[in-house]
């Protein structure tokens, strides 16, 4: 029983036992605890127009709306967390469960800088800093230092085990930049989704849709003749079968990126919903046993979510490399 074990035991028991002091703030009077938990979870998983760190520290973000040829830009502090409405140039906007509605029925197109957009820009800056540091550390000698030491095995792994086996030696260099970007982007964003900041970018199906769309566009644009030949006129099967296979293969080209989108979205969203429901269970059981066990389960599930964050980034990158490889491969007809 050395000092490390003692400290560890004390810390774990303190964390487990503080849960019994959990109280809920019944802000709306008579609401059932389960409904309130559901609303809190839904609120956390949605995009929002202001950046809320704690209850007192929040940044309002700009709202950019395009209604019928008029561009309206104002700050979301005018909405006061959804309680008031804002009138500009005769059009009255108000916030309704996270959506912006206009009083007289016009439909604004929402180009606002919301929390997700802000976070994508922050991750862009983080990745820019990381990789320029890594590139600079290669100037002096072949062995990198600093950030390069951390990232070099990962970059080499992507090149040697994902890009070259799937795309081939001749063409892999053209796709390396996209594969690296997608891998680190998805991994960093999934990791940030596990922090208490409340940002979940991959929870948004529009973000995963854009990533899958870029993969689809890259495969279609860089496909050579034998790829289209395989889809429309598959060699090696009898002629009636070729007519049956052609629409199925064509549908397959769309379904493959579609499954990329759904896989990433569903994995991350399901993980977050389950994690927050288990944290909500801490408030439902108000005794010693139930709250501590819920906390322990939430802790174990968070560890699993770390694995899922990295695994989903790896799977997305690998399947993208597979699709690129199928598009540019030179098929040798016997």
């Amino acid at each position: 029983m050395n000092i490390k074990t003692i400290i560890f035991t004390i810390v774990i028991s303190v964390f487990s036992s503080l849960n019994v002091l959990a109280e809920q703030h019944m802000s709306d009077g008579d609401k059932d605890i389960k409904t309130e938990i559901k609303e809190t979870i839904a609120h956390h998983l949605m995009d929002s127009h202001d950046f809320v760190l704690t209850h007192d520290l929040s940044f309002p973000l700009p709202i950019i709306l395009y209604t019928d040829g008029n561009l309206d830009i104002f700050s979301s502090a005018n909405f006061h967390h959804g309680t008031t409405s804002h009138t500009v140039n005769g059009r009255t906007y108000s916030l309704d469960h996270g959506h912006i509605v206009e009083a007289s029925g016009l439909h604004p197109v929402d180009f606002s800088i919301t929390k997700n957009v802000t976070f994508i820009m922050i991750v862009f800056l983080i990745m820019l800093v990381m990789f320029t540091r890594m590139a600079k550390s290669y100037k002096k000698n072949a062995l990198p230092s600093g950030m390069g030491r951390l990232l070099e095995p990962i970059v080499l792994y992507i090149r040697d085990d994902i890009a070259i086996p799937n795309i081939g030696e001749k063409h892999y260099k053209k796709y390396m930049s996209y594969l690296l970007t997608v891998f680190f982007f998805i991994w960093i964003i999934n990791l940030f989704g596990l922090t208490p900041l409340g940002v979940n970018v991959t929870n948004n199906i529009a973000v995963t849709f854009s990533l899958a769309l870029i993969t689809y566009v890259l495969t279609t644009v860089s496909a050579n003749k034998s790829y289209w030949g395989h889809i429309f006129w598959m060699p090696g099967v009898p002629v009636p079968m070729k007519f049956i296979l052609a629409p199925i293969e064509l549908l397959g080209t769309i379904i493959k990126p579609f499954s990329l989108m759904i896989r990433l979205y569903a994995n991350i969203t399901a993980g977050h919903v389950v994690l927050m429901s288990i944290l909500g269970m801490i408030f439902i059981f108000k005794g010693w046993v139930g709250s501590s066990l819920s906390f322990g389960l939430a802790f174990a599930l968070s560890l699993l979510e770390l694995l899922v964050a990295a695994l989903q980034a790896y799977i997305f990158t690998m399947l993208s490399a597979l699709y690129f490889g199928a598009a540019v491969e030179d098929y040798h007809h016997e």
């Binding site: 085990d161 499954s259 759904i262 569903a266 994995n267 399901a270 695994l311 790896y314 799977i315 690998m318």
Partner: protein, 63 residues
């Protein structure tokens, strides 16, 4: 949610569980036969498991 939807969701999870279990089992067997290929077998096992889990989640979310 109605009862048929819930039963369907349970069947999907059973299917995904059986699939991933079989993949894990054959991966373990292959690793026991040839310990030097452990890295590659692990990689392929994770890929196949993620694909099956993707179908499972897609069906669950379409409920």
């Amino acid at each position: 949610m109605e009862i048929p939807a819930i039963v369907g969701g349970g069947l999907v999870v059973i299917g995904a569980g059986i699939g991933i279990g079989r993949i894990g089992g054959s991966a373990l067997e292959a690793m026991a036969r040839q310990p030097e290929l452990t890295g590659k077998i692990q990689t392929v096992m994770l890929i196949a498991a993620a694909l099956i889990e993707g179908i499972g989640f897609a069906a669950l979310f379409a409920l």
